[in-house]
């Protein structure tokens, strides 16, 4: 009776049996990567904007305070996207006829909003509140990164739930004294401003104790 299979089949079959295991593992690993890749998380991906607004220039260069434009960041869940009015407060004088700013002027004339593209976008079932994070001393930089180095905005963090929860479990590393919350620079510690009343934990200001921070990890803190 003629042979059906070439002797090499022995090798092939063995290889395929073990190979299957690795292939499955490989697929899993690729998916794992995909969900954490910048393709999916948009980390480091510059979002084009209708107006080429540069945080680098306004924050880094001119040193304008975050709250000048993001007015409601201390009082509302929503930090606030500046109304055209705020742009025009300066740009009715400065660069009043720069072609780059035509979209802004148009908006002011026509009353049509400027359609900015969202960079930090959470799912609708996530309820994030800026004001409480600010008042507890979480610096802008903790989530938004060094915007003073960003010509156009991009994400520096994945905004994965895992990432939120990590900080909620151990907020200490991201807490700053009140006067450093809006600062883009690292803060020297312990700063005299709070040192007096400060409780010191392993040589660092224990702001968690100072501010009595109980950052919950209950589901309803963010989902409701």
């Amino acid at each position: 009776m003629p042979q059906i299979f070439h002797p090499s089949m022995n090798t092939i079959s063995r290889a395929s049996i073990f190979g299957a295991v690795f292939i499955l593992a490989g697929v899993g690993w690729l998916l794992w990567l995909l969900y954490r890749s910048s393709y999916y998380t948009q980390v480091g991906v510059v979002r084009p904007q209708p107006v080429e607004f540069s945080h680098e220039h306004h924050v880094g260069g001119l040193g304008i305070d975050c709250r000048y434009c993001h007015t409601s960041v201390e009082s509302s869940s929503f930090a606030g996207i500046p109304p055209t009015q705020i742009c025009m407060q300066c740009h009715s004088q400065i660069w009043a006829d720069s072609p780059k700013l035509e979209a802004v002027r148009a908006s002011f004339r026509t009353g049509q909003s400027i359609p900015w593209t969202r960079v930090h976008d959470l799912p609708d079932y996530v309820y994030f509140d800026h004001s409480i994070h600010i008042s507890k001393g979480v610096g802008c930089i903790a989530c938004h990164g060094r915007v003073d180095n960003m010509p156009l905005m991009w994400r520096v963090e994945t905004l994965h739930m895992q990432w939120c929860v990590d900080c909620h479990r151990d907020p200490a590393p991201h807490l700053r004294p009140r006067d450093m919350v809006f600062s883009m620079s690292d803060w020297p510690e312990p700063t005299p401003t709070v040192a007096s009343s400060a409780k010191i934990a392993n040589g660092k200001l224990d702001l968690v104790k100072i501010r009595n921070i109980a950052s919950g990890t209950n589901c309803s803190v963010c989902h409701r």
């Binding site: 059906i4 299979f5 079959s13 794992w32 994945t158 994965h160 739930m161 895992q162 990590d166």
Partner: protein, 468 residues
């Protein structure tokens, strides 16, 4: 060659086996060749009968019914079914439990009876295992389909995710995921390993080139050498050892789905054992339901003898009695607990709106099986077949009673309501039956439904007996 490696049939065992009364497990006068010819012929030479085509066609049709139901379900939502509040689970979980139960005989017959050295199992274990696989496959559908959002079913699995979340391991449903998937894997392996020598036989006997290649690949280069047999027996025994506890564990866990809840009528310590007994009962019922027609259709009376039928009938009788005991205990607990809610459940089952289902179940699972005390009924294929069918219906009703009557009137009378399955519920059910038979027909057409090599061992043993 088979003699050299025969692992199980020790002479004393064989003696005791054949000393016992009752017809032999293999008709006398069979030789190695005749056994091999007769069984492999079904697959290789006899060709496809019209009966097969008809059966296959019908089951294929119902597979399509299943497809339609599932598509509409996923497109529209659970609302197409009759489920509601308070009856959150209806035919979906009912059929899951029913199928899982049926999927018990296979492994029991193959593994447990193998370990207990019951060589009468050899002629029925193959398709009993196949049946198990297909039943578990059907069962596996329902836990997925019953999800409101099936597209996130993978949240049931523990895997590293960006949410930093795990499944909730206190929930019996998570235990189910593991129990069922383990059971499916092990029984698949067990079945396949058992097939290897026969696949080799088919490879060597088939005339078509395609057949040779396919069977060849599946046979994984089996040559029947002593080393092969040694490894094979070791592997087969090991798998049997692994599979045996699963027979108990799977349906125990399914029992936990109910027992760990606080729903009156579910919250009951007897559930796990009583579910296992019920599973074996329904499993054997299903084996008989299939074995008897097959045996007639393919003239296998020599291999599946009255002895087999009788033994299976005995198992049914025994497990049936355990189930009956379970029913009695439920009623007893209801009364003895002095718990209003439990008492009401018992009362509601007996005289409530679903009472007919309850009494039908008592008839099917308690009264009818008693006929099996009579030997003439045990060895008569027709009567046995009818009883087996009745048992299957009975077990289905049992799950209906457990799930629906417990839920539809639980604690607050204000939320009491009725549950009526819709056409889509029934469609999904008959669809799953279709899937089951679809796979079964493929199996009997392309694989030896009786283990050839184990039958050869039997031949040898019967010869031994004649010589001695």
């Amino acid at each position: 060659m088979a003699i050299s490696v025969k692992p199980i049939a020790e002479p004393p065992a064989a003696a005791e086996l054949h000393g016992s009364p009752g017809s032999p497990v293999l008709a006398p006068g069979h030789t190695f060749t005749s056994v091999t010819d007769q069984i492999s012929a079904i697959v290789l030479t006899r060709g496809t009968t019209r009966g097969w085509w008809v059966g296959f066609g019908i089951s294929l049709f119902f597979v399509n019914v299943l497809m339609v139901c599932v598509t509409y379900l996923i497109a529209t939502g659970i609302g197409i079914w009759g489920n509601n509040i308070p009856v959150g689970w209806g035919l979906d979980i009912l059929n899951f439990v029913w199928w899982i139960g049926i999927g018990h005989a296979g492994t029991l017959i193959s593994a447990v009876l193998l370990l207990f050295n019951q060589s009468w199992r050899t002629s029925i274990n193959r398709f009993a295992e196949a049946m198990t696989l297909f039943a578990v496959a059907c069962a596996g559908l329902y836990p997925l389909l019953h999800l409101g959002r099936i597209w996130v079913f993978y949240w049931l699995l523990p895997y590293p995710n960006t949410m930093g979340l795990w499944p909730q391991f206190r929930s019996a449903l998570v235990w189910d995921v593991f129990a069922v998937s383990t059971y499916l894997t092990v029984s698949l392996l067990f079945w396949y390993v058992g097939l290897i020598p026969d696949l080799a036989t088919l490879r060597d006997r088939t005339q078509s080139r395609v057949g040779r290649v396919v069977y060849g690949i599946l046979a994984m280069g089996w040559r029947g050498s002593a080393r092969h047999w040694l490894r094979f027996d070791a592997a087969y025994l090991l798998l049997a050892g692994i599979a045996a506890p699963l027979v108990v564990s799977v349906h125990t866990v399914v029992g936990f789905d109910f027992a760990t809840s606080i729903v009156p009528g579910w919250h009951n310590t007897i559930f796990p054992p009583y579910f296992v007994a019920g599973a074996i009962y329904s499993g054997f019922a299903m084996v008989l339901t299939l074995a008897i027609p097959l045996r007639a259709a393919y003239g296998l009376q020599d291999f599946i003898t009255e002895r087999h039928l009788e033994n299976m009938a005995k198992v049914m009788l025994a497990t049936g009695l355990m189930v009956a005991y379970g029913y009695v205990m439920e009623v007893f607990f209801g009364w003895y607990s002095a718990n209003t809610f439990e008492q009401y459940v018992v009362e509601n089952r007996a005289i409530g709106p679903y009472a007919p289902a309850y009494w039908a179940l008592i008839l099917c699972n308690v009264l009818v099986p008693q006929l099996l005390w009579i030997r003439r009924i045990r060895i008569n294929p027709i009567s046995l077949w009818v009883i087996a069918i009745v048992a299957n219906i009975g077990m289905w009703l049992e799950r209906f009673v457990i799930i629906v009557t417990s839920l539809h009137r639980d604690y607050l009378p204000s939320s009491w309501a009725m549950y009526y399955p819709t056409v889509w519920d029934w469609g999904t059910f008959v669809g799953s039956l279709g899937l089951f038979f679809f796979l079964l027909f493929l199996f009997i057409r392309f694989l030896p439904m009786i283990s050839i090599f184990e039958m050869r061992e039997l031949v040898h043993r019967t010869e031994e007996e004649h010589d001695g």
